[in-house]
Symmetry: C2
């Protein structure tokens, strides 16, 4: 028996051919069945390797037309969304947490728009500080839709952060994520112990259970924070 061929080895060989320009941008590459014969494996094995490359943006596949190397590839990068405590601990720091404020309140209109809720809907506002080795790490400024979160009235955010409580108590289906930079105003500067005007890195997330908005949060990181992604 010939040894079996792994889809990873085919993926690696395809990648090599793309990088070596054996398969040039714009080219249509051989059909799955042709490659299967060349590599001496089943078509399904070739299929999986090429599908992976297509998911990463390195190939474009279309029925009938075949598979081609894109002229302007659009690569995909991924990053991980962990709870903040884990992120701090992964950095080798002691995690600290402090609740700053929690209250039912009328959110600014842009929050309601973001969550597609009617005007004048009251939400639960939770503001808390996450610390790394005693220094401010990230200010969590969150609005929670009480109507979508049963058991919310029982939650005590003085010890467990809303970040962590929601992950453990709410099943979510969709997350919208945006990143931007924000200059520290007086309040942020005080909480994050940085000069007013410092450039802060903000992650804004909205989470949904089906079509029901759960929460919108801004994670405002202390100066120096960097987010790393992988391809």
């Amino acid at each position: 028996m010939a040894p079996t061929v792994s889809w990873q080895s085919i993926q690696a060989e395809a990648l090599r051919r793309i990088q070596a320009r054996d398969w040039k941008p714009g080219d249509t590459i051989p059909h799955e069945s042709v490659l299967a014969e060349e590599f001496g494996c089943a078509r399904a094995t070739v299929h999986r390797a090429l599908r992976k490359l297509a998911e990463a943006g390195l190939l474009e596949r279309r029925r009938k037309s075949g598979t081609r190397v894109p002229l302007n590839p659009v690569y995909k990068a991924t990053f991980e969304i962990a709870i903040i405590r884990k992120e701090v601990e992964a950095g080798g720091h002691a995690y600290g947490y402090r609740l700053i404020e929690t209250a039912q309140a009328l959110p600014p209109p842009e929050i309601l728009t973001l969550l597609r809720l009617p005007a004048r809907t009251r939400l639960l506002h939770v503001v808390a500080l996450h610390e790394a080795s005693g220094s401010p790490f990230c200010l969590e400024d969150r609005w929670i839709n009480p109507g979508a979160v049963p058991g919310l009235e029982l939650a005590d955010f003085r010890e467990l952060s809303a970040n962590e409580w929601l992950v453990q108590n709410v099943a979510l289906s969709r997350i919208g994520i945006e990143f931007f930079a924000l200059a520290a105003d007086a309040g942020l500067a005080a909480h994050l112990q940085c000069p007013q005007g410092s450039a802060l890195f903000v992650i804004e997330r909205t989470t949904w259970a089906g079509s029901m908005p759960i929460t919108a949060v801004q994670l405002i990181h202390a100066p120096g924070y960097r987010l790393t992604a992988a391809t």
Copy 2:
């Protein structure tokens, strides 16, 4: 014949069970073979559905131990890396490009460290501005390793941006990406036509062909820029 069951439908049903807490965080879910029998399909079909969910961070799979719903899920989000021209055009703006500077120079030591190049290696420095409908969109501050890019001396970055030229002319295999916020100094403020001290969103990328460093670039975006990711 019974109609065949798609892996998407199994994925959807598994997702439903996770969200409905039929399968609770910490639980071990039934084996692939059991689910295959329940759904009346081949084990491979179940496998693909569960593998997809595991890749998204919604399940944890281990040989021998089985598949479980994680207590602290780590979700994965992805974003796309397109050439800047396409990104501007996708936003409905007219794309403009202006080369600011190009020169062989000694880069700051942190760039060499980032690219794992020996001290005092000279690199090609390219600075250019990308515009959206006539306004500054993004300043591209790039260092290129000439030794790794054959044909670089033929490139003319006055018309085609280095961003675009490299995508089309260099096969790369790995990209490192980081995001952070930066306060505009006098030079950046002038180029991006914003007040000094504005909070700017920066994407820093290093690209490699195998173990060979190709280029390091900072894409310093004008105020107001937001990066969107998807889950």
